[in-house]
Subunit: 489 residues, 2 copies
């Protein structure tokens, strides 16, 4: 779509230009939350940390006569005194927390239009995890009706409209919700972004597997042009993985909320100031103070400094991710970052499931130079499956072939960890030939198993040919189930 | 020893106070190399980045009449205009590179004493990797003679003396070299530090497995009080692993050499400025400039800025490591950092070898609170083997016991990934009870295998008792070789 132009891709992640009335935003990015009621770090200051867009809550503004008057008169940008793009939330969060809000969808959407929000949000209903399907479906229908109502108000507008995707933890509803949201955007003609909603309760309970499943289900039906906002996700430990799954926008109230609670963000999790002896960061705050000095400060002063660090580290992570996309090493980055939590490791392993592996294979468009092995997770990258498919298309001239595990000896084909069979003529090509991997005797058994699975597949495919396999000792225990056309020497 | 006081431990790493004539240095730390001939980042400025000690080359000073006169008159601290502790190298590096130096051991050691070096180094002989044992042994003997000669000059001195450990890639020679160096320190009575030498040629060729093997062999004979310097290692990607193996000191010429070559350090490897689009860092340099802006600068100005970043990131990593030691999460940190290179993953897997696993188990003294699983590497932490041993000592009252894989059902014992058998009474205790791990259906097969190995060991140990095992499906393929005293329900 014309308002979202993808410029670089890797894994399912992308760098793109999102056009808003207040300028073109490079995604992936993070929108810091500005609370219009609380003076903390101002929207104006956010540029310094790397922000190009902020998010605030139109419902809070709407409910406060004072804020409302200023916003109507000067617009939301005037209220926040910023020329950055401003997304506004609708009160859905309050709906989730308090069960009710004192505004209806049409009112809050029109209000957002009036105050000149760059991205407005309808009053969608965040259905909690594990809701029964009938409730989740009913909520979803209401949400979609509200989205259509909002879309009509934003058709042919310069501003963007968020069309949130709900459906609780029901994969089929999440897909349906995404499909319908896309239909609304296309039929009514709005510049849409697609937030995935009601994720926070899952994160709060470490249900990262469910989060990844929801994102993958949604991405399986969204078109590539759809900008995706992982609504409520603001911790840098999730950014790399979420971007690699195709998310483009994040928002963070966490930088401030955590800071006020003396919690310090890192791309690998959260640390409590009370337990810190050193700041593992080089930002201007962490270079200037020690944790001990910070603990002796007044609470307000300290919160402000921790919030600054939290913002620095969030945007540092965004930069690391964008750099990884441009150099096509996003898989490597994610495989490092998932070590922040055991359930992130588990969540990433969802990509071993066939339908998700296929989706990743379909969408991963990065032109990679090197296959950099980081551990067993690397075995499930598209490069490995694609190699196995490609190898089957290589023509074998002759009847009998030697396969060796020793790259230093002459052979027709080689057997390499992870990849399996590599024809001699591909031994210099990406991926198997450009793979930085530990040698077989130091690699995990799983890497040999995946290789042998690919080998067996290959042998079966060429059942009219004969193969003699010369294997080093470490391979032998894995080669005791060869088909009749192969012998182990 | 009185000059090296260990205050905190985790894995084989430690935080310690190293006493020098110029103050007490907290280790682990990095000594930036100051080239006395080249004006770049001065010793004086190094404090800003976090340095408390620098290293310079006494041979370069000795060979330059001008530098030499100043050093003799004002001392090496006067020459470098710093009150930081200063270690001086001896010319061994030049010996390695050029094959000869124009000074003998006694002269250069006496010179270092004269100019007031805080840590002097004898003229040891760095034997290259893969040298034949006879040559390596001869070099080592010469090195040890020179160390004894130097030690006599430094006996009862306030200054410290480095007693380098050589021996090429021959494990038995490395051990011998370490033993003899310790003997010299004790017999002659010097405040010693123990550099492990000739590591750089191994790093340059990605032979990280060999590096780890050498360090482990050396550590297997060095006493705990011995401060260890991994000589020539200055890239932050190696710091966490090296500290976890018991190294305390690093030195870096890399921060400057790399910078002059437009190379940017990260704890995960090196990036070329030409290939960077974003700086994934929050230091004052990276917050101020983009890679594009930096590329347009003059070479000298740019080199200076990259060097500053390189120093920031090195000391950021030192801080991250010290924080991890204090909170006893060094294993978790290392298991993240090894993802920087496939051969680091391979190198860390040396700890699966029995003798090295035992050494780690013996020396790991961290009081851990939680077992945070980061991937298959976590299976080889001492916590897992210690648990298996401890479980065998738990008394079993009765004759028949139920073992379940489902923590939600009542059972006498539970079967958990990684740990194996966990008696119900230990299910709330560290490590198995305080383990954050993916559930069995999402964890790697290797974690189930390690658990089953521990289970079988336990069943064999209690061969007079009977066990009924209730296993969820994911476990069943691994439980088909049970001994006669156990049945799968």
């Amino acid at each position: 779509m014309e308002h979202f132009e993808i410029t670089h891709r890797d894994a399912m992640g992308r760098i793109a230009k999102l056009e808003t009335p207040h300028g073109v935003i490079e995604t992936p990015t993070l929108m810091p939350v500005i609370n219009p009621n609380v003076e903390f770090i101002s929207a104006k200051e956010m540029k310094k940390f790397g922000a190009s867009m902020v998010i605030t809550n139109s419902y809070i503004i709407y409910r406060s006569p004072q804020l409302r008057d200023v916003a109507i008169e000067k617009g939301v940008h005037g209220l926040l005194d910023t020329d950055l793009a401003v997304m506004t939330d609708s009160g859905s969060y309050q709906l989730m927390v308090y069960g009710d809000v004192e505004v209806n969808n049409r009112e809050i959407v029109e209000f957002q239009k009036t105050i000149g929000s760059d991205i407005a949000v309808p009053l969608d209903i965040p259905t909690p995890p594990d809701s029964v399907i009938t409730l989740a479906e009913e909520d979803m229908k209401t949400t979609l009706e509200r989205e259509r109502e909002a879309a009509k108000l934003f058709s042919n507008e310069k501003s963007l409209l968020a069309l949130p995707i709900q459906g609780s933890t029901q994969p089929e509803l999440r897909r349906k919700s995404a499909e319908e949201a896309v239909r609304i955007a296309e039929e009514v003609g709005v510049k849409a972004i697609f937030p995935i909603g009601a994720i926070v309760p899952l994160l709060d309970t470490y249900r990262f597997v469910d989060v990844v499943r929801i994102v993958l289900e949604v991405k399986s039906v969204l078109p590539a042009w759809a900008p995706v906002h992982l609504f409520g996700v603001g911790h840098p430990m999730f950014f790399a993985m979420s971007v690699a799954l195709g998310c483009d926008l994040f928002d963070s109230a966490a930088y401030a909320l955590y800071a006020k609670d003396d919690r310090y963000l890192t791309p690998y999790g959260t640390k409590k100031l009370a337990e810190m002896h050193y700041f593992p960061c080089s930002c201007s705050v962490c270079s200037k103070y020690t944790p001990e000095e910070m603990r002796r400060m007044k609470k307000g002063e300290r919160a402000r400094l921790i919030a600054e660090h939290n913002l620095y580290v969030c945007f540092e992570e965004i930069k690391a991710i964008k750099q990884a996309i441009k150099e096509n090493t996003l898989f490597e980055l994610v495989e490092k970052r998932i070590r922040s939590h055991p359930y992130l490791v588990a969540a990433w392993r969802l990509l071993r499931e066939e339908k998700y592996a296929k989706l990743m294979e379909l969408l991963d468009a990065g032109m990679k130079q090197t296959f950099f092995y980081t551990g067993v997770e690397s075995l499930y990258r598209p490069a490995v499956t694609r190699h196995a498919e490609r190898v089957k298309r290589v023509e074998l001239n002759g009847k009998e072939f030697v396969i060796s595990t020793n790259m230093l000896e002459h052979a027709d084909l080689y057997l390499r960890p992870a990849f399996g069979v590599v024809p001699a003529e591909l031994i210099e090509a990406y991926p198997a030939g450009h793979a930085e991997m530990p040698p077989a005797e130091y690699i995990e058994e799983e890497a040999l198993k995946v290789a042998v699975r690919n080998l067996l597949d290959f042998l079966k495919f060429h059942k009219d040919k004969k193969f003699r396999i010369r294997a080093e000792d470490v391979w032998k225990p894995h080669l005791n189930n060869l088909p009749p056309n192969a012998t182990l020497e």
